[in-house]
Each structure stands twice: as structure tokens, then as C-alpha cells.
């Protein structure tokens, strides 16, 4: 996958996340990061044909968001079926970086780092 190709595909996935996922905009940075890492990782696993663990409550939560996202990705972006697992991981890493930037590191939300809910 060329860099340009990767960026374009990651952008499509990222746009989907922006438009549909409430979990990226939880109230605090640690919540957001936890969700971004957990759900996007599980989604990557699913897209590679693996079953992410579903033992702890948080694993079950990540799975339930990821399984919907993976299904939507397959439906909306049919090219994803043809991607190699290594590409999937690259793609998901790129999406993760972009979502982290918009929701955490470059968010203009003043309340994100307040210690109390």
C-alpha cells in the first residue's frame, strides 16, 4: 500500500468514525483514549478475521462497538476485504492517530482534562 493510498483509505474510515461514533467524544481524555485504543484495536482484529477477547466487561464493550464498525466498514468500503492483515493494522493505526488527534491531543474542548466528572 502506498502512503497516498493508505492516507486516502484511512481518511474514509476516519470520516466514518467522526460521523457515527459517540465513544470518541466521552467527557475526559482518559475515557476517550481508552475507547479509541480498545475499540479500534478490536475492530482491526475482527477485520483480520480474529476474535478479540470478550472476557472482562470492558473487552465486551469494545467488542460490541467494534463488531458493528467492522461490519459497517465491510459494507461501506468493500476494498477492505482485499487488504492484507498488515495493511489493516497500518490503516487502523492511521485512523487511531487521527482520531486521537481530533478527540484528544488537538481537541479545543476546555473540560477534557478536568479531574472530576
Amino acid at each position: 500500500m502506498t502512503t497516498e493510498n493508505l492516507a486516502g483509505k484511512a481518511e474514509q474510515l476516519y470520516n466514518y468514525v467522526q460521523e457515527r461514533c459517540l465513544w470518541q467524544f466521552f467527557s475526559r481524555t482518559w475515557d476517550r483514549q481508552e475507547n479509541i485504543d480498545g475499540i479500534l484495536h478490536a475492530t482491526g482484529e475482527l477485520l483480520c478475521g480474529k476474535q478479540p477477547p470478550r472476557h472482562t466487561p470492558m473487552e465486551k464493550l469494545f467488542y460490541s462497538d467494534a463488531v458493528i464498525m467492522a461490519a459497517d466498514f465491510r459494507q461501506r468500503f468493500p476494498w477492505i476485504e482485499a487488504e492484507q492483515p498488515s495493511h489493516i493494522h497500518e490503516l487502523m493505526q492511521a485512523v487511531k492517530e487521527k482520531v486521537t488527534e481530533i478527540a484528544v491531543t488537538k481537541s479545543l474542548n476546555h473540560e477534557l482534562n478536568h479531574s472530576l466528572y
Partner: protein
């Protein structure tokens, strides 16, 4: 220049930071309206107070609980008959308000005795009711009445009653949002864990941030029932006080209104390890997604798919009838905050409606991150919009329908724009599949109201209409 200084705001230029016009290629890293900030005095803002955020929005919904408002009479009177949250026990919360009816002597000498007497009277007059929430108001907070001490005394004398206190005067914070927060945090810290629920299913949830507006809760309860999921607590639609003391026993918190009730879901996660799943309950696509996620959490995906198929079978045809006719309609949303992001995409995807302007009374920046991510370019995103701004925005976007409260609805009526009650609905419920068909129907009927055409006709000049009628 995506932040917008309206003509009517030239004397209050700081309003520019609160009004955003989204253009292509921008996102919330570039611009995010200031929100949850103090209101400029004299602007005719739409905001309410923190007290009402606690009492009217959340606590007052409970169907078995006396709402004792410690203060002068207005705070009770004003938070009565302004909501549409029925209950299955004869609408107890809609029928009654309680006040200590504070007078000047209590301001001078303290109101604690008055409060104690009023609490005892209320329990005596309604002997079947054993639960109460006591609220402070501006004056009782200012004079420093110790309402917790009073309620402790009453509870020690009346062992069968339980009382929760909310110390959240109207001047706290900048809007009703502060009241949501105070009630959420107080409840988790003082009341959750106090009662153990009877577990009847291996799948249990808290359903958080839904207030049974026109029966929303009941629509969703049908789904939970069909899926075999036990709702341990409803926060707070058609809910009971003691159910809310059992929140710690659910396996999952399903959150609809993250603004008014996200705090308690967060704390349930921190204190009890209960994961928080945010969903959208308005719209076909969203509701189906929500059901899928909840079912995936419990590993009961098949039940979810069966339910969705059944509901689509019942309602999708009706929705599509309206979608065909609403295609391209322009809508504005001027409500509290979360409905902006809950609705903007669902009306677009499910009904083909374009949301052209949105104003939030008490949303935080988190809400604007959500709505700007979901909303369209060319749309206005406004924090704490005021009356003159609404006129100017209407001129710019000319919506076909506005989802807002009844008072603003009366205002825009004069401009020949129909409104739909965006808080309490016209003819709801609006949640779930069935509900979204109701919303579509109400929107269709509003936009096609024949009176609007008549209102636009000046009988002194325009004769077209009459010729049409005669022919």
C-alpha cells in the same frame, strides 16, 4: 471566517465565539464554539437555572418520590406542568409539587424548622409515599440552611422513609447543566448501593438519560423485554427511587442523554467497573445499531437481529412514505444540547431532511464536538442563542420547520414557520422505530399545514389563491 459575528451582536462582539458556520475541510481542531460559559445579561437567552436542571429534568421524573423544594413558592410553581413525562402509576410526578413556601421571617431566622415541618406534613398527607428528594433554592442556599441535617433528623424519626438532598441553587453554574451534574454526582455518592435488586435475567442494564417523554421509555422497554434484558434502573423515565439505588448491580450502562446523565455513567464505570455504552435512540439506523451493540455485549446477537427485522417490517414502510415527501426539507433544532447531535444525522439519513441551523441552550464543548462531527457544512452551530440571533439566523437559512420549545414556537409562528416541540414532542413518543415514524409524521404535518399558505396571503393584493380556490 467560520466563527460568525451577527449583525444583532455588534454590541456584544464576544458572541462571535459562540456561533460557528461549518465549511468544507474544517473540523473541531480548527474551531469549537465556546459553551457552558456565563450568559451575557440582558440578551434574552433561552437558558434556565441549575435548580431546574436537577428538579425538573431528572429528579422530578421519579414516579414514587416527593419533590420537596425548600424555598419561596415560585421555584415549585414554575417547575410544574412544563414537562410531558407520564408514569404508569397515574402520572404522580405530573400532578404534584411541594414547597416549603419560605417567607421573610425564615430568611431572617433560618428555614430549617419550616423544612422539617413541611417534610413531615408531606409524608403525613401522602402516607403511601416513602421517598423524597429535598432541593435547596437560591435563598435557602444563600442563608445556609443545613438541609442534610434536617433530612437526617427526619429519617431517624421515620425509619421507613428515605430522603435524598440536592444542594443546587438556581444561581449555581451557568445553566441547567450544573443541576444535572450535582444530582448525578450526589446520587452516585450517597444512594447507589443502598438497595440490592432482584435479578431476573442474566442480562442486566441501567438505562440512563431517558425521561419517558411522551412514553419514550415504554417504547424502549418493549425492546429490552423482547431481548430478555432486565433494566435494573431507569435514570429516570418512569423510574423509582429504589431502583436507582440498585444501579451498581447492572452489567452495562446504556446511555442516551450523555449531557444530563453521562456523569453517573462515568462514575458507575469508575466506582463499580460497569462499562458505559452511548447510543442514539432516535432514528431507525441508530436504534438498530444500538440494539446490535447491546446484544453484541451480551452475546445475544440473534435476538437483536430478529427484533430489528420485526420492527423494520412493522415501521419501515411508514417511515419511507414520509421520507419520500420530506426529502430536502430544511430543519432547525433549537433545544438543550444533545438532541442536536442525536438528530442531525438521523433526520438526514432516515428522512432526507437537511438540518440548517442548531442552537444549544446548555450543551458543553463535548456536545459541539459531537454535533460538528456529525453535522453538515453550511450549517450554523450556536451556543446559548438569543432571540435577536434567532431572527437573523432564520433570515439566513429559512428553515421549513423548527424543533424547539413552545414559547419560541409561538414566536416563529408569526414568521409563518411551524414548530415541533423539540423538548416534549408534539405527538410522541419519538424514540425507537415507532417513535421516529411519529416524528416524521409530525414534521410532515407541520410543513404541510395549509394555514401557512393562507397566512402568507395578503387578501388586498394577492388574488392567486382565491382564483385557485374558485377553480
Amino acid at each position: 471566517m467560520p466563527m460568525v459575528l451577527l449583525e444583532c451582536d455588534k454590541d456584544i462582539p464576544e458572541r462571535e465565539k459562540h456561533i460557528y458556520l461549518k465549511v468544507d475541510g474544517e473540523d473541531t481542531r480548527d474551531f469549537l464554539p465556546i459553551s457552558n460559559a456565563p450568559t451575557i445579561p440582558g440578551t434574552l437567552s433561552e437558558r434556565g437555572c441549575a435548580f431546574c436542571g436537577a428538579k425538573l429534568v431528572i429528579g422530578g421524573v421519579l414516579k414514587d418520590t416527593i419533590q420537596m423544594i425548600h424555598g419561596p413558592i415560585g421555584c415549585a410553581y414554575d417547575t410544574w406542568h412544563t414537562k410531558r413525562y407520564p408514569t404508569d402509576n397515574g402520572h404522580f410526578p405530573l400532578k404534584y409539587v411541594w414547597s416549603t413556601d419560605m417567607k421573610e421571617s425564615h430568611i431572617v431566622f433560618g428555614g430549617e424548622k419550616r423544612l422539617e415541618k413541611s417534610i413531615n406534613e408531606a409524608f403525613d398527607e401522602m402516607p403511601d409515599v416513602k421517598r423524597m428528594i429535598v432541593y435547596t433554592t437560591c435563598p435557602t442556599a444563600l442563608i445556609g440552611d443545613d438541609i442534610k441535617a434536617v433530612t437526617r433528623k427526619v429519617m431517624s424519626e421515620r425509619p421507613d422513609v428515605d430522603i435524598f438532598t440536592v444542594e443546587c441553587p438556581g444561581f449555581a453554574g451557568v445553566s441547567q447543566s450544573k443541576g444535572h451534574h450535582v444530582l448525578n454526582i450526589g446520587w452516585i455518592n450517597e444512594k447507589v448501593g443502598g438497595v440490592e435488586p432482584k435479578i431476573t435475567s442474566e442480562y442486566t442494564i441501567n438505562f440512563i438519560g431517558d425521561y419517558n417523554i411522551q412514553g419514550d421509555t415504554w417504547v424502549l422497554d418493549q425492546y429490552w423485554k423482547a431481548l430478555g434484558i432486565q433494566v435494573i434502573s431507569h435514570f429516570t423515565g418512569n423510574g423509582t427511587y429504589d431502583d436507582l439505588r440498585c444501579m451498581h448491580r447492572a452489567q452495562l450502562s446504556v446511555v442516551n442523554c450523555a449531557r444530563s446523565a453521562g456523569y453517573i455513567a462515568n462514575e458507575l464505570k469508575k466506582q463499580y467497573g460497569i462499562p458505559r455504552l452511548d447510543i442514539d435512540s432516535w432514528g431507525f439506523n441508530y436504534m438498530a445499531e444500538a440494539i446490535r451493540k447491546v446484544c453484541a455485549f451480551f452475546g445475544i446477537e440473534d435476538r437483536g437481529e430478529a427484533l430489528i427485522a420485526e420492527e423494520y417490517g412493522k415501521w419501515k414502510g411508514k417511515l419511507d412514505w414520509y421520507k419520500e415527501r420530506l426529502q430536502g426539507a430544511k430543519m432547525a433544532i433549537w433545544t438543550g444540547g444533545p438532541r442536536l447531535w442525536h438528530w442531525t444525522k438521523s433526520v438526514e439519513d432516515d428522512l432526507g431532511v437537511q438540518v440548517v441551523a442548531m442552537s444549544s441552550k446548555f450543551g458543553h464543548q463535548e456536545d459541539f464536538e459531537k454535533v460538528i462531527a456529525r453535522g453538515q457544512t453550511g450549517t450554523y452551530y450556536i451556543d446559548d442563542g438569543n432571540e435577536l440571533e434567532f431572527f437573523e439566523i432564520i433570515d439566513r437559512v429559512r428553515p421549513d420547520v423548527i424543533f424547539t420549545g413552545p414559547r419560541v414556537g409561538e414566536l416563529v409562528k408569526k414568521l409563518h414557520i411551524p414548530y415541533i416541540n423539540g423538548h416534549a414532542y408534539h405527538n410522541g413518543p419519538y424514540m425507537g422505530f415507532e417513535g421516529f415514524v411519529n416524528l416524521a409524521r409530525d414534521m410532515y404535518n407541520a410543513i404541510n399545514n395549509p394555514l401557512l399558505k393562507l397566512a402568507a396571503t395578503d387578501i388586498r393584493q394577492d388574488t392567486t389563491f382565491y382564483r385557485e380556490a374558485a377553480e
